[in-house]
């Protein structure tokens, strides 16, 4: 694992402070934080809560690959990616991405790059619980 990258997949509430503190650096003029939160609706249905599961060992490797590309492309100083597992209530944090860079533009771009890639390739699955039942998001046509 690259020493400027912190990846955690956690069963407990995520900490913005922990991610922020990890990436703060005296050479950097910008820190960008993205926080993905659980919303109360999707596709016209009321969502009650979510459950996340992951193939944890592979998920950490895949997030690490994404972070290494971001480091190369956007010259990041440090990156923290924390993702939640298990039962997550509405408004709780599902994912935090924190990036520090010398200048702000790279921090914004790296943050967006990482969340977009994470959603495509990292083996983490979201089950949405509605009023009447539940389903795996993206699983069926």
């Amino acid at each position: 694992m690259d020493s400027s990258i912190d990846i955690q997949i956690l069963d407990q509430a995520l900490s913005i402070d922990q991610c922020y503190d990890y990436v703060i650096h005296e050479s950097c003029g910008g820190i960008c934080l993205f926080v993905g939160t659980v919303r109360n609706h999707n596709k016209g249905e009321d969502v009650k809560y979510l459950e996340f599961e992951s193939y944890k060992s592979m998920a950490i490797k895949e997030i690490h690959k994404i972070c290494l590309i971001a480091k190369e492309q956007f010259h990041t100083q440090s990156i923290a990616v924390h993702h939640r597992l298990g039962h997550v209530e509405i408004t709780e944090k599902a994912v935090i991405i924190a990036v520090s860079t010398v200048h702000r533009k790279n921090a914004f771009q790296a943050c967006e790059f990482i969340i977009d890639k994470l959603k495509k390739t990292v083996p983490i699955w979201k089950r949405e619980f509605l009023e009447n039942g539940s389903y795996w998001v993206n699983a069926t046509p």
Binding site: G36, M58, V95, I124, W125, W136
Partner: protein, 78 residues
């Protein structure tokens, strides 16, 4: 060989791990064929991937019985 199942794949297989004893499964495409025969609902989900030793594999990738194999249905993290 053992195959880990996550998300909707676990629901379809009815277990988080399935054991395959047949010698017929020696590549990812043969694994797909086997799964879709044993559990026809695999044909009804969106494109799923197969991971070998914690990395995405191609259909032509060979499988050894000692490999760590996992079914990766469409991901939805974040």
């Amino acid at each position: 060989m053992k195959v880990l199942c996550f998300g909707i794949a676990r629901d379809i297989a009815g277990a988080s791990e399935i054991k395959i004893t047949t010698e017929e499964v020696q590549s990812v495409s043969q694994l797909r064929r086997y799964l879709e025969e044993q559990f026809p609902k695999f044909q009804s989900i969106n494109q799923y991937m197969v991971a070998i030793n914690e990395a995405y594999a191609e259909d032509t990738t060979e499988i050894k019985s000692s490999d760590h194999i996992a079914i990766i249905p469409p991901v939805s993290g974040g």
